[in-house]
C-alpha cells in the first residue's frame, strides 16, 4: 500500500500586491516587488503555492539616529547623514529589494521638518535608487497628516507603499494613497480584530483591498515575538479560510524592533556574559526575522546588512526550487 500524504486544501489565497512602477507602468523604478499570492501556510509547498519570494526592505532614516549601537554605527555610520547615499548603499552593496524611508525627522519632538523638506527627501531617495519605496510617517498623527499627502504627491505614479493607516488616523493617508496611485500599510497594535477593523475602514473609503499591506506592530525576540508570530499565523489562516478583510500580505518591522532590545544593544563592557555585541545584535535581528518568516511575513524591514544576508540565506534554504 502506498502512503498518501494528507493534504490540506484551502479555499482562498493571500492577495498579490506589487509595489513600484517601471517607466512602462508610469513610474521611474528599475525594478518592482511582488508579494503574496500564497495558497498555503508558509513553506508547505506540497499543499499549495507561494509564488512570490518574501521581499527584504532596508530602512533609511531622514536624519541620523540619536543613539546607535556600535554594530549599526560601524555598518551604516558613513552614510547616515544622507538618505540618498544610505539607500544606495543598501541597494548596491547589500542588495535590498526595497527601501523603507522613515521620516522621523518630521516628528515635532525630533527635527520637526516641514512637509516640503520631507517631500524633497522622498524625491532624493527615489532619485538615488531604482527599487520600490516604502514611505513611513513620523508617528505623530497630526504631523503625519501634513507630511504624507505631500510626500505621496511627490512620489505620484511610483506605486509606493505608504504607512501607516491606524484606527484613529486613517482618512488622510488613505485619501492620499488613492489620489496618487500608491499602496497602503494598515497598522494594528498586535490585535487581529483591530487589524481587520482598520482594513474595513480604509476599504469603506473606497480603497481596493488588493492595495493594502498589513502591519501588526511587531515585537522582537524576547519582547513579544511569539505573540506577533501567532497573530501572523492566525491572520494567514484567516486569509486562506476566505476572510477577505485579512487576506492582505504582511509586513514586519524587524530592524527597529530587534535593535530596541537591550540584549541587542548593550555594549560588551555592560554585559560581557552575553557575548560580543558585534555578533549579538545581528543575531537578534536575524532570529526575529527568521521567526516571522515562518509566521508568513511577506515584507521584512531590516537594519543591519549582515542580518539581511542571514535572512536571505534562510529564505533561499526554505523556498522551493521552482520559485
Amino acid at each position: 500500500m502506498s502512503f498518501e500524504m494528507p493534504i490540506e486544501k484551502w479555499a482562498s489565497a493571500v492577495n498579490t500586491v506589487t509595489i513600484g512602477a517601471t517607466s512602462e507602468e508610469g513610474g521611474t523604478r528599475a525594478s518592482t516587488v511582488t508579494v503574496g499570492g500564497d495558497t498555503t501556510l508558509p513553506f508547505l509547498d506540497f499543499e499549495g503555492k507561494s509564488p512570490n519570494r518574501p521581499a527584504i526592505a532596508m530602512e533609511v532614516l531622514d536624519m541620523p539616529p540619536d543613539e546607535w549601537p556600535s554594530p549599526l554605527a560601524e555598518a551604516l555610520g558613513g552614510v547616515c547623514q544622507d538618505p540618498g547615499a544610505w539607500a544606495r548603499k543598501c541597494v548596491e552593496e547589500v542588495g535590498a529589494d526595497m527601501i523603507c524611508l522613515r521620516l522621523v525627522g518630521a516628528h515635532p519632538e525630533r527635527g520637526d521638518r516641514s512637509p516640503e523638506e520631507c517631500a524633497e527627501t522622498v524625491k532624493a531617495v527615489l532619485g538615488a535608487v531604482g527599487v520600490p519605496l516604502i514611505i513611513w510617517g513620523c508617528g505623530d498623527a497630526s504631523k503625519d497628516n501634513e507630511i504624507i499627502p505631500r510626500c505621496s504627491e511627490a512620489a505620484a505614479g511610483e506605486n509606493c507603499l505608504l504607512g501607516t493607516a491606524v484606527q484613529d488616523n486613517y482618512k488622510t493617508i488613505t485619501a492620499a494613497c488613492m489620489a496618487d496611485g500608491h499602496k497602503l500599510i494598515t497598522e494594528a497594535p498586535l490585535d487581529i480584530n483591530i487589524q481587520k477593523q482598520v482594513n474595513i475602514l480604509v476599504t469603506d473609503m473606497g480603497l481596493d483591498p488588493s492595495r493594502i499591506v498589513m502591519y501588526q506592530s511587531t515585537g522582537g525576540l524576547g519582547y513579544g515575538m511569539e505573540y506577533a508570530y501567532s497573530i501572523m499565523e492566525r491572520t494567514r489562516l484567516a486569509a486562506l479560510g476566505g476572510d477577505k478583510m485579512l487576506s492582505m500580505p504582511m509586513l514586519a518591522q524587524v530592524g527597529s524592533e530587534s535593535w530596541r532590545a537591550k540584549e541587542a544593544r548593550a555594549p560588551d563592557e555592560a554585559a560581557p556574559e552575553w557575548g560580543p555585541v558585534a555578533e549579538r545584535g545581528v543575531i537578534w535581528e536575524a532570529t526575529t526575522a527568521s521567526c516571522f518568516l515562518h509566521g508568513g511575513t511577506h515584507i521584512f524591514v531590516m537594519w543591519h546588512p549582515r542580518a539581511v544576508e542571514l535572512l536571505r540565506k534562510t529564505i533561499d534554504s526554505l523556498v522551493s526550487q521552482e520559485n
Binding site: 484606527q167 484613529d168 480584530n193 483591530i194 481587520k196 477593523q197 474595513i200 475602514l201
Partner: protein
C-alpha cells in the same frame, strides 16, 4: 476677619463653619476641611455626583455665592465658571462660613419611572402573598368550655380563615401582648397581619377591626437606580411607583468601587448601607404619601438586587466577591423583618430577598428569569438584563446558564454628556433623514428634550451609522455634509437637537467620546452573550427568542439594537423588549408563595459561567468594538440592509 457671613450663630470663639445651601435654604455645621459635597450630604441636600467624589465627573458644580472655599480649582471648570465662583463640591472644602447655590443641573432630581405595567403577560400566579391583613372573628371564651386561651382561639380563627394555605400558625410576642385587650374591646374581632414564613403563618401584628387593606413593596435595588412599586396585596393591583438615583453613586458608580469603599473606609460598609436605605426609604415615603397611606400600612416587601447590592443592604461584607475565587458571603437569605433590614414600613413586616446565583449574577436576575418565564418554556431563550452590569441567561425549561459582564452605565445614560435616565424629557426614539437633515424624535412624557436615554441612544447610533455620519469604528465623519456635524471644544459631535428650536441654551449632541462609550458597552454585552453561547456550542440561529430587559425607555427598536451590534442578529420578530423584569419578578414574589419558591429553585438551577475565566472574552470584546461587529458575517441581514459587502 471672616470673609464669610456670620449666619446661624454668633459664637466666634471656637467657630464651626456654617454652610447654607440654596435654593433649599438648608443650613449645616461643617467640619473645617470637609468638602462641600460631604457637608451637603450631611445636610440632606442632594448634589449630583457620578464619580464618587473623585473630582473626575464634573457633575457636582456649585456656585459659591458668599464666602471663600478651600481647595484648588478644578480643570473641569472653564475660566468663566471659575470667575463666577463655580467650584466642584467634591473638591472645594469648607474653611469658613459659606453660602452655596446648587444650580439646577447639579441638583439630583427625583426620577419619574416607567412602571412597565403589563409589559410581561402576567403569569402572576397570585396565591399566598408575603403578608396579608386578615379580619378575624374569634370565638368568645364564654362560648366554649375547657378554659382555652385567647391564643388558641386566635389560632383556630386563623385556621378557619386561611387553614387551606398554611400548614401551621404562630403568634409573635407583641401580638400576643395586645391580643387579650384588643379582642375584648372589640367583641372578639381583630385584624391580624399574617406573614408567610415558608408555609407557616406568623401573626406579627393585631389591630382593631377595620376595612383597611394591606400594601406591599417590590423594590429593585439597581447599582445606579432604585425602583419601588407599591402594590395592594389584597387585589394585586399596582398603586404607585417611585424611583431615585441610588445614593451610593456618591461612593462610586459601579459595584467594584463600592466594594473598595467598603473595605478602605472604617465605616464604609455602614455608609453604603445607610445610603441604600436612605434611597429606599425616600422612595417608600414618596410612594406612600402619594397613595395617602401611612408607612405602617405597608406590611411586606420584596427586594431584588445584584449580589453586591444585596450584601450592602444587609451590611454584609462583600469583600470576597472581588477576590479570587470570587465568592459571595451569602447567596440565599432567610426571610427577615423590616426593622432588622432598616426599611421604614411596618417594623415587623416580612422582607423577602431574591436569592443570588453567584458573585455577579444576583437576585435581580433570578427575579427577571422568574418574570420572563424562560425557565418554564421549551423555547431556547437568550435573556439579557442591561444595566450597569449586563447579565445574560440562556436556556429553557431543562437548563439555564448565566453570566455577567461589566457593561458600564452608558445605556442608562450615565457618563455621556447628554445621556440621561429613561425619565421625563428623555429622547427615547429618534430617526434621522440625511436628505432633509431632519431629526425626528419622541421624548418621554412628550416633554421638552433634556437628553437621551438608552433607547434613544441606540436609535441615534444606528441612524448615524446608516447615514454615514460615523464610520464603523464610531468616529464622526467630519466631511459629512450637514451642519449637525461639528467640532466643539475639540470634541467631534453630531447635534441631535438644536437648542434654539426647543428653547435650551445649548444643543443636545452625541459626541465621539459618547459614541466610544456606547460602543464599549455594547461590545461588552455582545461579547458576554457570544462567549456564553460559544461555550455551550449554540449558534445564534438556534436562539428562538431574545428577551431584553433594562431601563432603556418605553421602546427598544430591535432593528437598531441589532444594527449597532448590541444584540446578536436573529430574525427581528424573535427580539422582544420586556422592560424592568427585576421589579416585575419582585412583584410576583410579593404576591405569590409559589413565585418565592420558584426563585429559590431557579437560583439553584442556574449554572454560573465565569466570563473572566473565558480566555477568548477579551478578543470577543475587541471584535465587538465595531459597528455592528468586525465580523460582518455574523450580521448578514444587517449588512444587506445597509448595502455593505460581507
Amino acid at each position: 476677619m471672616s470673609s464669610g457671613p456670620d449666619l446661624c450663630h454668633a459664637d466666634s470663639a471656637v467657630k464651626t463653619p456654617i454652610v447654607v445651601f440654596l435654593p433649599d435654604g438648608v443650613c449645616v455645621e461643617a467640619e473645617p476641611g470637609q468638602t462641600i459635597l460631604d457637608a451637603a450630604r450631611a445636610a440632606g441636600v442632594a448634589i449630583d455626583s457620578a464619580c464618587g467624589g473623585q473630582g473626575s465627573c464634573g457633575r457636582c458644580k456649585v456656585l459659591v455665592a458668599l464666602g471663600k472655599p478651600g481647595g484648588a480649582p478644578s480643570g473641569l471648570l472653564s475660566p468663566e465658571e471659575i470667575e463666577r465662583g463655580m467650584v466642584l463640591a467634591c473638591q472645594a472644602t469648607v474653611e469658613d462660613d459659606l453660602v452655596v447655590e446648587v444650580p439646577l443641573e447639579s441638583q439630583r432630581s427625583e426620577l419619574k419611572i416607567l412602571t412597565d405595567e403589563g409589559r410581561l403577560e402576567g403569569e402572576a400566579a397570585r396565591d399566598v402573598p408575603l403578608a396579608e391583613r386578615l379580619s378575624l372573628r374569634l370565638a368568645a371564651p364564654e362560648q366554649e368550655g375547657g378554659g382555652t386561651g385567647d391564643d388558641e382561639r386566635l389560632l383556630r380563627a386563623l385556621q378557619e380563615a386561611r387553614g387551606e394555605d398554611f400548614a401551621d400558625f404562630s403568634i409573635d410576642l407583641p401580638a400576643l401582648r395586645s391580643l387579650p385587650r384588643l379582642a375584648r374591646e372589640h367583641e372578639w374581632r381583630v385584624d391580624a397581619l399574617v406573614g408567610d414564613w415558608d408555609g407557616k403563618g406568623v401573626v406579627y401584628d393585631l389591630s382593631p377591626p377595620s376595612a383597611r387593606e394591606g400594601y406591599g413593596l417590590a423594590i429593585d435595588m439597581g447599582t445606579t437606580t432604585v425602583v419601588v412599586h407599591l402594590i395592594n396585596l389584597a387585589t394585586g393591583g399596582f398603586v404607585e411607583a417611585c424611583a431615585s438615583l441610588n445614593d451610593q453613586v456618591a461612593f462610586g458608580s459601579d459595584v467594584i468601587s463600592r466594594i473598595i469603599h467598603a473595605q478602605e473606609h472604617e465605616d464604609g460598609l455602614q455608609q453604603l448601607r445607610a445610603a441604600i436605605l436612605e434611597t429606599i426609604n425616600r422612595c417608600v415615603a414618596q410612594a406612600t404619601v402619594r397613595a395617602g397611606l401611612d408607612p405602617t400600612e405597608v406590611i411586606a416587601a420584596t427586594c431584588v438586587g445584584n449580589t453586591v447590592m444585596t450584601h450592602l443592604l444587609l451590611g454584609i461584607d462583600p469583600a470576597a466577591i472581588r477576590r479570587e475565587p470570587y465568592v459571595p458571603a451569602v447567596r440565599s437569605l432567610p426571610q427577615l423583618r423590616a426593622s432588622e433590614v432598616g426599611i421604614e414600613i411596618h417594623p415587623a413586616a416580612p422582607i423577602c430577598l431574591a436569592p443570588c446565583v453567584s458573585s455577579y449574577v444576583g437576585g435581580d436576575i433570578t427575579a427577571g428569569v422568574l418574570a420572563s418565564g424562560i425557565g418554564d418554556s421549551p423555547r431556547l431563550t437568550l435573556f439579557l438584563d442591561l444595566g450597569t452590569n449586563g447579565e445574560m441567561v440562556v436556556g429553557q425549561e431543562d437548563w439555564l446558564m448565566c453570566c455577567s459582564c461589566s457593561a458600564g452605565p452608558a445605556f442608562e445614560g450615565s457618563g455621556l454628556e447628554y445621556g440621561m435616565y429613561a425619565t421625563v424629557g428623555a429622547i427615547e426614539k429618534l430617526s434621522y433623514d440625511p436628505d432633509t437633515d431632519h431629526v425626528e424624535y419622541l421624548t418621554i412624557g412628550e416633554a421638552r428634550p433634556r437628553g437621551m436615554c438608552g433607547s434613544g441612544l441606540v436609535d441615534a447610533l444606528a441612524a448615524l451609522l446608516r447615514a454615514g455620519a460615523i464610520d464603523r469604528s464610531g468616529r464622526i465623519n467630519l466631511g459629512f455634509p450637514s451642519p449637525r456635524v461639528r467640532v466643539r471644544k475639540d470634541r467631534p459631535e453630531f447635534v441631535i437637537v438644536w437648542g434654539e428650536e426647543v428653547g435650551r441654551p445649548d444643543d443636545i449632541s452625541l459626541g465621539e467620546d459618547d459614541i466610544q462609550n456606547l460602543i464599549r458597552s455594547k461590545a461588552a454585552v455582545y461579547a458576554g452573550a457570544a462567549a456564553l453561547l460559544e461555550s455551550l456550542g449554540i449558534g445564534t440561529r438556534n436562539i428562538e427568542r431574545i428577551l431584553v430587559a433594562g431601563a432603556f425607555g418605553n421602546y427598544l427598536d430591535a432593528e437598531n439594537a441589532v444594527t449597532i451590534g448590541l444584540l446578536p442578529e436573529v430574525p427581528l420578530d424573535r427580539i422582544r423588549f420586556v422592560g424592568n423584569t427585576a421589579v416585575a419578578g419582585a412583584r410576583l414574589c410579593l404576591q405569590g408563595r409559589e413565585a418565592r419558591r420558584r426563585t429559590e429553585e431557579l437560583a439553584r438551577r442556574m449554572t454560573n459561567f465565569e466570563l473572566s475565566l473565558h480566555p477568548g472574552y477579551m478578543e470577543l470584546y475587541v471584535s465587538g468594538l465595531f459597528l455592528p461587529h468586525t465580523d460582518l458575517e455574523l450580521f448578514p441581514a444587517t449588512a444587506e440592509r445597509l448595502g455593505w459587502r460581507t
